[in-house]
């Protein structure tokens, strides 16, 4: 219990500092981005004084004291009021995020889970048959793939599979003549458009899980309990899965829970390559148009998701690992 309380306190503290950082950044930067922003907004006309006030509060150019602005900022966050997007005027920031989020959650969510499961299995195999041709080839391929820029791999895939051989569409989340709806035709198109992005993310993220799992597994296989399991005459399969892998996977579970939090931020660069209509693409558009309200809101969502996932990871660890539970109670 004490462990969970301490963790909860850390969660709130981290959230607070991340959100405060988000509040301070535009105020600390030289050259006052807010003034530029506001001038651009005024150029668009048709902005009520209320909307202008909201932007001023967010970016820190109102006449109120910093403290008042800070209170107002928190008030806006609790009401999910992030103002109006500059790039997608007159839509609100929340509207744009609501449009983009499902795309990213579906694409990155599915690929993250797949990548974790496949990578872990390959890691277990590689460690078990350590030194075999399977281990050497898989491990060296993944050492290479995990250190290449994944957006570059995406570019190469688009070139080969969409340009040279017309197997997959070049960009977008669905066929351009369609409007999003819940018909089978549209869902089919969306799935078809997501295969190539999903594949590139999968290939470039598998390596991380595989290498980590292989390392953990090698350490676990040297433990005394594995020797004991051998001495008891248990089957090889039982030793590998039931003894070594069960312990080796623990550190990876934390990483997995955290990577589920990163899902919200999307694979920014891959989404950019494919012009995939998700959060990463939205963030890129916000940045390249200096759309500070949108940028701030997206960053906030990403941070909240990651911090929350981190918290879940801690809880999962307590549930899975009795050592932490016991350690936490005595500490």
């Amino acid at each position: 219990m004490r462990y969970l309380l301490r963790r909860s306190f850390m969660l709130l503290l981290t959230l607070w500092s991340a959100i405060t950082l988000n509040f301070l950044l535009p105020r600390l930067m030289p050259g006052n981005p807010a003034e530029v922003m506001l001038a651009k907004f005024k150029g668009k006309g048709t902005m009520g004084p209320q909307a202008i006030h909201a932007i001023k509060v967010m970016l820190g150019i109102s006449n109120e004291s910093v403290w008042q602005q800070y209170v107002q900022y928190w008030d806006n966050i609790f009401h999910l009021n992030f103002g109006i997007s500059y790039t997608y005027f007159p839509y609100s920031v929340m509207h744009m995020i609501a449009q983009a989020l499902p795309w990213t959650l579906a694409l990155i969510g599915v690929t993250t889970v797949l990548s974790f499961v496949l990578g872990t299995l390959l890691g277990i195999w590689a460690a078990w048959w350590r030194g075999s041709w399977f281990d050497l080839s898989v491990t060296s391929v993944f050492t290479f793939t995990s250190s290449f820029p994944y957006f570059w791999f995406a570019l190469i895939c688009v070139f080969l599979l969409s340009f040279v051989v017309h197997v997959f569409p070049i960009s977008g989340g669905y066929a351009t003549y369609m409007t999003p709806n819940w018909s089978w035709a549209f869902l089919g198109s969306a799935v078809y458009h997501s295969i190539l992005p999903a594949f590139t993310i999968l290939v470039s993220s598998l390596g991380g899980w595989q290498l980590q799992m292989r390392n953990n597994m090698i350490t676990a296989l040297n433990e005394d309990y594995v020797v004991l399991a051998r001495a008891k005459g248990l089957s090889e399969r039982m030793i590998a899965i039931g003894y070594a892998a069960r312990n080796a996977i623990l550190p990876n579970m934390t990483g997995f829970a955290m990577s589920l939090g990163f899902v919200v931020s999307g694979a920014i660069l891959v989404e950019l390559v494919f012009a995939y209509p998700g959060m990463g693409d939205l963030l890129y558009n916000a940045v390249s148009n200096e759309d500070y309200p949108l940028m701030q809101a997206i960053f906030l969502m990403i941070v909240v998701a990651v911090v929350a996932a981190n918290f879940v990871a801690d809880i999962v660890n307590v549930l899975l690992d009795p050592r932490i539970r016991r350690g936490a109670e005595t500490a």
């Binding site: 850390m10 503290l13 981290t14 500092s17 991340a18 950082l21 950044l25 535009p26 930067m29 030289p30 050259g31 981005p33 030194g131 050492t143 290479f144 995990s146 250190s147 290449f148 820029p149 957006f151 570059w152 791999f153 570019l155 190469i156 688009v158 070139f159 340009f163 070049i170 390392n215 090698i218 350490t219 040297n222 990163f262 931020s265 920014i268 660069l269 950019l272 390559v273 963030l283 890129y284 940045v287 390249s288 200096e290 940028m295 997206i298 960053f299 990403i302 941070v303 990651v306 911090v307 981190n310």
Partner: protein, 283 residues
């Protein structure tokens, strides 16, 4: 000379690390000898635009009529510079925070560890993008700064954990009784005993710095007039190299980034084996 040999010897003994070391040395040589091994100037725009690979232009030309091969070789300079500078700075910051936090239990440790955790949790790439977007000037210095600020936390956590185990050793107590200052004990007594961990932290930081720099430049957050591998990919993407079949222009810069990253990871294998004997080959 013997000091240099001793520095590189562990990397030479491990086969994988040797491959990595050779690749890195080739790249350093290419960066230094760029004017000798390229036929043109990287900014020479006098060639026909968007040529495919040929004997005159091994990797083709850009939309502005620059030679891609020449740009690639000169780009090595900027990529090595950013990777190593950000790697060194992030490691230095990680050392400072990790070592002090590990050596001073209590309030100092709590505060520094909390700071480390916050930076560990905040997602790196979005934070880098936001920082770079707010900044009024673009360029390599900004990218180095942004990567350093976002990239030190992992190293700090690992180094802190190691210091907490070394803190109780006799030689540390001896140094304390001899009246050495804290900074001297931490950096002159403790740090040399965990040098392999420091090397691993640096190699890891350099790999992620190279990848992060490429990503930021690809997003257009670098200075588009500086020659670097990330900027080359940015221009290739934005001038439709893909749809014009300019495969060499797209392929080469990313391949170099991947090769450099892999080389550093391979060198890390040697360091890992020093630090963790269990990973050494049996027998």
């Amino acid at each position: 000379m013997s000091a240099v040999i001793r520095l590189f010897l562990p990397f030479w003994r491990n086969k994988l690390a040797r491959v990595g070391l050779i690749v890195v040395l080739i790249m350093v040589a290419a960066a230094l000898l760029a004017p000798v091994i390229t036929p043109y100037s990287p900014n020479d725009t006098n060639f026909p635009a968007m040529l495919g690979p040929s004997w005159q232009h091994w990797l083709g030309t850009t939309q502005n009529g620059q030679d891609v091969y020449t740009q690639l070789v000169y780009g090595t300079r900027s990529s090595l510079e950013v990777g190593f500078a950000a790697g060194i700075l992030a490691t230095a910051l990680a050392l400072l925070i990790g070592l002090v936090a590990g050596y001073l239990p209590g309030l100092v440790d709590e505060v520094l560890s909390y700071l480390t955790n916050v930076f560990l949790v905040i997602p790196g790439l979005p934070l880098m993008i936001i920082l770079a977007a707010y900044a009024p000037v673009k360029g390599n210095l900004l990218i180095i700064f942004v990567i350093t600020v976002t990239g030190w936390a992992w190293g700090a956590r690992v180094l802190r954990a190691q210091v907490t185990t070394l803190r109780a050793r006799d030689y540390v107590a001896a140094a304390r009784f001899a009246g050495d200052s804290m900074m001297r004990i931490v950096f002159r007594e403790i740090m040399p005993n965990m040098i392999s961990l420091v090397a691993a932290t640096f190699l890891g930081a350099a790999v992620s710095a190279i990848l992060a720099a490429a990503g930021l430049q690809f997003l257009g957050l670098g200075d588009p007039s500086i020659n670097s591998w990330g900027t080359m990919l940015y221009w290739a993407q934005n001038s439709g190299a893909l749809l014009q079949g300019q495969w060499a222009w797209l392929f080469a810069p990313g391949f170099c980034i991947a090769a450099l990253g892999t080389a550093l990871v391979l060198m890390n294998f040697a360091v890992d084996e020093l630090a963790n004997p269990r990973l050494r080959k049996k027998g």
